[in-house]
Subunit: 254 residues, 2 copies
């Protein structure tokens, strides 16, 4: 039972933290995932905890790209599973893109727990662990033969490592959700959504509903000319400018 | 047993993470402490993971202030205990300032575990939990009658909350070690050391040795005219400029 009052100024942030901590007790998130969440919190704070225009644009392009793909897959790790189980399941259905459990700290038991947890929200969840991606040494090499292994586009929320590079080498398009625009994943992805996952997935659901009846040409028009470097540059500039603004306000007060 | 190779570019950072994770398994750190550590990692990264001049200056002033104090105390929480047990014990002896275990997530068992852990490094550790500080509702109100309760200066590493404000209300001088120059603690402390604790404490040990034979006048000269607002401003400017620099380098590469 969560005791955080709804009108607490940090309610959303504290609730997310609670869900990650609860996830650890359920055997879904891992201790390293808690530390990673802390890093993300910090970036969200300096981003002003809102979905900026560059993020909304990337979210729209990501949805269009998923809709244009033959075999889109949504990769889910422990933190994603506990933060947005319902939303990611809805997005999966709207985009006809199955979820696939893929974790850095691998055990078959953990993968099965995440699968079961997500299935409660009605999603199709791949977790057969019956194929391997060359070039990765840790648990993330283990994939599902029907999923990431044959996917042409993979949505990778909350990646912390070198998987983006390998997926690209395997010829896949990668969409990343990463609050750190400086991370290797953010830098290497085809589309980088610099936004908190708890805002990004609901935004993507809205775009998916809006674009449901769009023609192939319309979708291609959205994807065409998208410049991910520009997104990264805008995100970095926003962080820098926000930091300057927060600093000036805070220093005025003391 | 830690399997991180010593030549890994992120060795220091990964080792710290391991120690925090180990601390959890020992019942010394808590899950919230792991998330807090992640936030700190992020700030250290954008600070360039080094002790800047403004930090060295604050560390020197902090040492002089502790030496000038009648009853200086070093407050220790779970993360501090596992990150720098040996160093904080050495500093404690050099400054004649006892350690006092003081944690946000309180249980007598946890406090005793931290006390025992620190005593292995030869420190005097207060943990009687026999007094209360008015104005604080959580575990941190519980202090030792011989320590923080009667202290005139408290060194507070890795604070996460509103304790700094209360200590100030009780008329104490507060020295904070906080990688986030925007935090309430950083803003309210008399001396804010914006540096990673694993560098800050060894730096303070060096200053304590250097100032061992300094006269009261010399120490007062160091403390006099110290401007903590200037420290905060320099720290914020450094983060902003580093972020810009990192961004430009990274964006050039892709």
């Amino acid at each position: 039972p969560c005791m955080i009052p709804k009108d607490h100024p940090r309610y959303e942030s504290l609730m997310m933290r609670e869900r990650i901590v609860e996830g650890y007790k359920m055997g879904i998130t891992v201790l390293q995932g808690l530390i990673a969440h802390g890093r993300g919190e910090m970036f969200d704070y300096v981003l002003g905890e809102k979905s900026h225009d560059f993020a909304l644009k990337a979210e729209k392009v990501a949805v269009a790209l998923m809709m244009l793909s033959k075999r889109p897959v949504i990769s889910v790790n422990g933190n994603t599973a506990v933060l947005v189980p319902e939303e990611i399941s809805e997005l999966s259905k709207l985009l006809n893109a199955p979820l696939e459990v893929n974790v850095f700290h691998f055990s078959k038991e953990r993968v099965d727990r995440i699968k079961k947890y997500l299935e409660r929200f009605g999603a199709e969840v791949l977790a057969n662990c019956d194929a391997e991606l060359n070039g990765l040494s840790h648990g993330r090499r283990i994939v599902d033969r029907r999923g990431i292994y044959v996917a042409d586009t993979v949505l990778v929320p909350l990646e912390d490592g070198d998987r983006c590079e390998i997926l690209k080498k395997h010829g896949k398009k990668v969409i990343a959700i990463d609050l750190n625009p400086l991370s290797r994943t953010a830098m290497m992805a085809d589309v980088t959504i610099v936004d908190n996952i708890v805002r990004a997935i609901p935004n993507m659901i809205k775009f998916a509903k809006k674009l449901r009846d769009a023609s192939r040409e319309e979708l291609e028009e959205i994807v065409k000319n998208y410049d991910n470097r520009k997104t990264l540059r805008l995100a970095l500039e926003t962080i820098r400018d926000n930091l300057t603004k927060i600093a000036e306000e805070k220093l005025r007060d003391i």
